[in-house]
Amino acid sequence: MSLKIVVLAKQVPDTRNVGKDAMTEEGTVNRAALPAIFNPEDLNALEMALHIKDTVPQTEVYVLTMGPVRAGEIIRQSLYRGADGGYVISDRKVAGSDTLATSYTISQGVKKLGKVDLVLAGRQAIDGDTAQVGPQTAEKLEMPQITYAEEVLYVDDKKIRIKRRLERGVEEVECAYPCMVTVGSSAPECRYAIAKQVMKYKNAMTEAEAAEMNLDCTEMFAKKPYLKIGLWNAADIEAEDSRLGLSGSPTKVKKIENVVLTAKESVNVEATEEGLDNLVKELIASHIIG
């Protein structure tokens, strides 16, 4: 028996380095102004998938991403770390998707991969912070879901046991396949790129990337088929146009505001047991901690 794992990954603007051009007038993210990176928690998910691949023989790990042409980089980064393959869903029709349209698109992509045992994804992306796409995708795939995963406690080719990191403690759950797991940042960090994989896959790309760079890769793809990264459009994943992109997205951004935090008043706390006690109580009461 072997396992087939799909990792959902997103290329995101590096919101840890936000400048003043981070948002457009329309209230969407200005992708051109920010460096594009692998969404951090998706890397945790990829690591979990690769860990399972190390544990259960004959496991295959595929990475699925949706985005512009340059999202092919996400697949290359995954191949460098040990993934077996990857696919990019790229189509003008999916632009402007909210979480509903995104999860629909992604679920159609997962279905196209045939029988899948396990879908892994980061808990949330750092550009939207919704944490909705994973669970919504699970619903559309009719898979049970385990969210906030931190650690794989046990795994074989029939089931997986996961430690979940929750606000007030941890929970251990076990689930038979197929299922969906979303992984948080407390899970192990992703391994580094592996030298031989990097050398093997450094020229891997989608046909769209090749076209953008005016490269004719016909010969290269014929000689080394593993260098061709799968590229799907809306028709490839048999998606209904009305459920894609802006038309499939009921969420509308009404207004974007810059919030500048300034210190208005200060509180002096006595450096005594009582003073600290009062401070902690106040912080709990105002839901800052606890």
Binding site: R191, Y192, A193, I194, A195, Q197, V198, M199, K200, K224
Partner: protein
């Protein structure tokens, strides 16, 4: 975080040196592996691109993992538990990260699990690692032992041991004994052939063994009973799995604390002969030693780079008398000289590495097929140059690393004397560099031949033949007259003192250093012709060389051997 490869323009410059195309073509045997391995390069550009990408991985791990662990590793150090050496936690993490990234066995051929990189990027990896953790650089650098196995051992031994390197097995080279340090001819550890078991048995003590509890050990031992010199020594490979070596103690050292230095007792330890009997010291160790000396060169340059960066950062942050201390002439002189010296030893490091790279490939090819007379000639000239440059590199780079880490503390002032800043660790780590793998004094003994035979002068004239323009031409003129001065001083010393006696030995360090300044300065001038940013260092070093060469010249010209008696009376 950062990346210790991509943030270093000096490395990128040397990776693209003109000779690299030929170096890579030879190493790749005209890209013969391209259809056999999916990760093998198809051409020069492809190969160098792979070098860069893999150096980026090493640069990232160095900056993320090694950098985070360096301070704790220095404080914790290794320990002995149940006759095994346990690395400091950080050391183990460093090793695991590099192992998992598949970067061990960088220069080993692909058939043995390696990446088949040429020697230059391998040395660069060592420099990057050393910039973060000079002690860990030993554990990383001892994969050099695999080179010796690859070059001299039987196919059987190669197949048994070499594939383990890429999987993370560590190595050690066990040479030193209590009574055999610089003088390895005195090695006593006994090797006797066990007919019944069909193996050699090793018995005796080794001391000061870096990474002493390694998985794979190369051991120098006396196989010829009754002999007393180097011709009775052979080289053996021992597998840790045999559990026949006791770790008696780990040394408590001044620096490079993450790198365990052990005293070992071999108890009838089974081992296999590497290559031929009696060639242990005179051929194999000499070859390994040259590699190890170049490794110290890489360590020195990496450490110098780290110290320069710390100093310049601190000098901008620290304010006294109402301005950053970087604005004071005496401070920026120190920092500028640190940068210039670092660039100087780096260009010497990669100049040496390129010669060794050519030698290694040509030698490997000569074992695969009969080489042409032209190739034979090439091998001879590269090999002569590699032999001459290696001790020069070891001497200058390790001495400069000490000066630079010393100045790094000086720039930090009182804070630098405290444990709060990395510079005190750099200073302690630097101290071993002029000592191990042959002291500076022994490097002079090796390098003086290049002075008397004229190898250095001839090479310097080759550098001078490279045409440069503008201000660089003026520097070149200065260097040419300094070279003429050097040659005149050498000739008069040879004539006046003869080359055989103590008097010549006494002045030889000064002569070697004169040649060293000329080599480094000419290399810097030629680098500047290709990359303008090196000009500052070329200018600073040429000024420094001018005064240092003149100083040495005056001393040697006025040297009266009678003064040796005064020195001896003070003993």
């Amino acid at each position: 975080m950062g990346n210790f490869y991509t943030d270093n323009e000096g490395l990128k410059f040397h990776l693209r040196h003109d000779l690299m195309e030929e170096i890579v073509r030879l190493k790749e045997r005209d890209y013969a592996d391209k259809d056999k391995y999916d990760f093998a390069p198809e051409n020069y550009e492809d190969a160098v691109d792979s070098y860069e990408k893999v150096l980026e991985i090493i640069g990232e791990i160095s900056s993320d993992v090694l950098y985070e662990n360096a301070k704790d590793v220095d404080a914790e150090g290794p320990r002995i538990e149940e006759n095994a050496i346990i690395y400091a936690k950080g050391t183990q993490k460093n090793h695991d990260a590099l192992k998992n990234a598949g970067v061990y066995g960088l220069s080993l051929p692909r058939q043995y699990g390696g990446l088949n990189f040429s020697y230059v990027p391998y040395v660069m990896a060592a420099e990057i690692v050393s910039r973060v953790d000079c002690g860990f650089a030993n554990i990383w650098g001892l994969q050099d032992c695999a080179e010796t196995i690859y070059e001299f051992a039987s196919e059987e031994i190669k197949n048994e041991y070499l594939p383990r390197i890429n999987k993370g097995d560590t190595c050690s080279m066990d040479l030193t004994e209590p009574d055999a340090g610089s003088d390895l001819q005195a090695v006593r550890l006994k090797a006797t052939y066990d007919e019944a078991a069909g193996v050699w048995r090793l018995n005796g003590v080794k001391r000061f063994i870096t990474n002493g509890d390694a998985d794979i050990k190369l051991v120098l031992a006396r196989s010829e009973e009754g002999t007393l010199d180097g011709r009775g020594l052979s080289y053996f490979v021992y597998d840790r799995a045999n559990k026949a070596v006791t770790v008696r103690r780990i040394e408590n050292k001044l620096g490079i604390k993450g790198s365990p230095t052990a005293e070992l007792v071999f108890n009838n330890a089974p081992a296999q002969l590497v290559g031929d009997r009696k060639l242990g010291l005179i051929k194999y160790v000499m070859s390994l030693m040259n590699g190890a000396r170049l490794g110290v060169g890489a360590q020195s340059v990496g450490l110098a780079e780290a110290a320069y960066r710390e100093a310049v950062k601190y000098a901008h942050e620290r304010e006294q008398f109402g301005k950053p201390i970087a604005d004071f002439a005496q401070v920026y002189e120190m920092i500028g000289n640190m940068r210039a010296k670092t660039d100087a030893i780096r260009t010497l490091l990669y100049e040496t590495a390129r010669q060794v790279d050519m030698c290694k490939s040509l030698e490997a090819i000569s074992r695969e097929r009969k080489i042409t007379p032209e190739e034979k000639q090439l091998l001879k000239s590269y090999s002569r140059l590699a032999d001459a440059l290696t001790p020069m590199l070891k001497l200058f780079s390790s001495e400069y690393a000490n000066q630079i880490t010393y100045d790094c503390i000086q720039v930090h002032g009182g804070s630098g004397f405290m444990k709060d800043y990395a510079c005190e660790r750099f200073y302690r780590d630097a101290r071993i560099l002029t000592i191990y793998e042959g002291t500076s004094q022994l490097q002079v003994v090796a390098a003086i031949k290049g002075v008397t035979s004229g190898v250095y002068a001839a090479r310097i004239k080759e550098y001078e033949a490279v045409e440069v323009g503008g201000e660089l031409a003026t520097m070149r003129q200065t260097l040419i007259s300094l070279r003429e001065r050097y040659e005149a001083v050498v000739e008069s010393a040879k004539e006046r003192l003869g080359t055989a006696g103590e008097a010549f030995d006494f002045v030889s360090r000064r002569l070697v250093e004169m040649a060293g300044y000329l080599i480094m300065c000419n290399l810097l001038v030629n680098d500047s012709a290709k990359e303008e940013s090196f000009t500052k260092s070329a200018r600073l070093m040429t000024k420094l060389a001018q005064s240092e060469i003149e100083k040495a010249a005056i001393y040697v010209e006025n040297f009266d051997p009678a003064i040796l008696e005064d020195y001896k009376k003070m003993l």
